[in-house]
């Protein structure tokens, strides 16, 4: 036990002495929160809309002003003809092109059927779909107004009016959705990257071998490696949460204790994984590659950007062993919905099982007779 204290003293001394470590521990949460949270967003604003108005009537101008007056669209230069419109889509000067045929106002007057053509750059499918739906809803509104203006009785048009109330994130602020997820990434950066690299460094510089010739026991060495990064990981989480609270006024509905408790379990799982992966690598370069790979897969499949429910079945199966997926869900539940323990008990349970499994795996793999 006393030996463990000496090992810990050495570990903290090395971390505090390493200027990179200190900068990483303080800098990573600040940068991640301040850059990633506002930058990673799916809200589509200010799509470049080019309108080829072949009608040039008061009707067409009104429609155009409705579109460009919304927050979603910004008018780009008007193309002269179809070829011009295509060129604008191709070059990226326009995200969408609306073609208004020359018989548009005649159509509205009931002489022909009014038609509009929309060309969408669908390289980014999400953006294309969202742009399309924004545009059609504005056109629908315009259409309703036209019908009413023509004096048709409202009752004659059976329209179902829906008025949504957005719960848990009433202003549809995308930052509120992202921030709990970014906090998970923060823990991975400390737990998987820094802790793992620290371990592999001991192996690479031969100090591990020197320690192995001493009476230091295997568990003592492992615990002395886990504890410092466990503490720094939780400190970073507090720092990141503080930044989120000050900079983005993130709501926090649930219990802080529950939030930190779940993150602590997650951190243990990640540290177990770091320890395990470090036994597979013989130098820092190898470790970095493997850890990067795991981090990418875990994060992208966790549902941070896209709901896991819309992933293919095998991906959802994979998420059974993806600790990030559990904490991603837990954090959003606790922070935004104010979920209590019984609401997330299943996820917490699975996360605990994973933590125990990873740590067991690591200790078994660490058969270096330390």
């Amino acid at each position: 036990m006393k030996r463990l204290l000496f090992l810990l003293k050495k570990e903290f001394r090395q971390i505090i002495r390493n200027p990179f470590m200190l900068r990483a521990i303080i800098g990573v949460p600040l940068l991640q929160m301040l850059i990633l949270v506002p930058a990673v967003t799916f809200e589509i604003k200010r799509l470049d809309l080019a309108v080829a108005d072949n009608d040039r009537s008061p009707d067409s101008r009104e429609l155009i002003s409705k579109l460009t007056g919304s927050l979603f669209f910004r008018s780009a230069a008007a193309p002269l003809n179809m070829a011009d419109a295509e060129a604008m889509l191709f070059s990226g000067d326009a995200d969408m092109v609306l073609v208004i045929p020359d018989d548009f106002s005649e159509g509205l007057a009931g002489i022909t059927t009014p038609r509009l053509q929309v060309l969408v750059d669908a390289v980014n499918a999400t953006q294309a779909m969202l742009g399309w739906s924004y545009l059609t809803s504005i056109v629908r509104d315009y259409n309703r107004e036209v019908i009413m203006a023509r004096g048709a009785a409202t009752s004659a048009i059976p329209g179902i009016s829906t008025s949504p109330r957005y719960w848990y994130n009433p202003t549809l602020n995308y930052k509120y959705f992202m921030l709990p997820g970014i906090l998970v990434i923060l823990i991975i950066a400390i737990g998987l990257m820094l802790a793992g690299l620290n371990l592999v460094k001991e192996l690479e510089t031969g100090t591990l071998e020197q320690i192995n010739v001493t009476p230091v026991r295997r568990w003592e060495l492992i615990v002395s490696k886990v504890i410092p990064f466990f503490i720094f990981g939780l400190l970073d989480l507090a720092l990141g949460l503080g930044v989120g609270w000050i900079a983005f006024n993130i709501p926090f509905e649930g219990s802080l204790l529950l939030f930190f408790g779940c993150s602590a379990i997650f951190l243990l799982a990640v540290l177990g994984l770091a320890l395990f992966l470090s036994t597979l690598a013989s130098n820092r370069q190898q470790y970095l590659f493997v850890a990067f790979f795991f981090t990418m897969v875990f994060i992208l499949m966790s549902g941070i950007f896209t709901p896991t429910e819309s992933m293919p079945g095998w991906a959802q199966q994979f998420n059974w062993v993806n600790p990030v997926a559990y904490l991603m869900r837990i954090n959003r539940m606790v922070m935004l919905k104010g979920a209590g323990f019984h609401d997330i008990a299943r996820d917490v349970g699975m996360l605990t099982v994973l933590a125990i499994a990873f740590i067991t795996l690591a200790i078994r793999a660490y058969r270096k007779r330390a």
């Binding site: 030996r3 000496f6 090992l7 390493n18 192995n212 010739v213 009476p215 230091v216 007779r369």
Partner: protein, 303 residues
């Protein structure tokens, strides 16, 4: 009781045999050297002795404790200094020493007498990080750290490789001093001149032991009459000697060339033959064989 008993130690890395049926004993308080070129298997052998790897075959005991089954007890009694500097470069001299003292459950003060002579030389730099020490100072720190828990045996893997000549001499003086404290030392080196400072040496080559004896006996075991031939232009001398039919072997040795002559040939004859090739003023005299001579002879015999 022998400090080290190795019996039929064999080890392989994949298809490469690093150690091939090695057996030897080291007496308590002995300074025992392993002499051999790079890749001879010295490091593997020392890592087995240091309980770091399990030999594929054979067994080794240190003070009667098996290196595989009793490794945990043994680790309290081993001072291991690997060939590569393996202390914490970002800790200071003092912190490193203190760290190793404490994890062995002792203090610097308690065993200071053991390391005093060595540590005194680096003590002025005790606040300096180990990574910023010179090669000689690193080596002294590593030895201090290996000694601070008063081990019964020191295992030193090529401690003088990459160290300047003065530090090397100093180092061997320190080892002689530790020996007088009753510490058993096994040390490996590729330098033949260092072998003379050991009580006994083992010549090792390609994972096999060629000979084990005192340096004197090893040198005396050389079967043939050896002559030292010298001339200011040693390179020309060597070329000339190798072209002479009277000469069986000729190997450079320090300032001279060690040669073995055919049984029926006497030194004046060689001198005359050399003069005919244009080399004048050559001196030739009988000499005591060095460790290298024996090593080369044994290597040739092995092949």
């Amino acid at each position: 009781m022998a400090a080290v008993e190795a019996l039929n130690i064999t080890h392989r890395y994949g298809r490469v045999t690093a150690l091939d049926d090695i057996s030897f004993n080291v007496n308590e308080g002995e300074l025992f050297g392993f002499i051999g070129p790079d890749g001879a298997g010295k490091t593997t052998l020392f890592r087995i002795a240091a309980t770091l790897i399990i030999p594929a075959g054979g067994r080794m005991t240190l003070f009667g404790l098996n290196t595989v089954s009793r490794y945990r007890e043994l680790r309290n009694h081993i001072g291991y200094m690997p060939g590569r500097f393996s202390l914490y470069q970002d800790l200071t001299v003092e912190e490193n020493l203190n760290f190793y003292a404490t994890i062995f459950g002792t203090t610097i003060k308690e065993n200071y007498h053991l390391i005093e002579l060595i540590y005194k030389q680096i003590e002025p730099f005790r606040k300096r990080q180990a990574g910023r020490l010179s090669g000689g100072m690193k080596q002294k720190l590593a030895l201090s750290c290996a000694l601070i828990h008063k081990p019964g045996i020191l295992i030193l893997d090529e401690p003088t490789t990459g160290v300047d000549a003065v530090s090397r001499t100093e180092f061997w003086e320190m080892l002689a001093n530790l020996k007088s404290e009753g510490i058993t030392i096994i040390v490996s080196t590729p330098y033949m001149d260092e072998a003379l400072r050991c009580d006994r040496i083992a010549l090792i080559q390609k994972g096999k032991l060629l000979a084990i004896d005192t340096p004197f006996n090893i040198r005396s075991s050389y079967a043939r009459k050896l002559y030292a031939v010298s001339h200011p232009d040693r390179y020309r001398l060597l070329i000339a000697l190798r072209s002479l039919p009277q000469v069986i072997t000729s190997e450079p040795f320090g300032d001279s060339v060690h040669v073995v002559l055919r049984d029926d040939v006497l030194p004046p004859e060689v001198k005359k033959a050399l003069e005919e090739t244009g080399l004048h003023g050559v001196s030739i005299a009988g000499t005591m064989p060095g460790i290298e001579d024996v090593f080369l002879e044994l290597m040739q015999k092995e092949q």
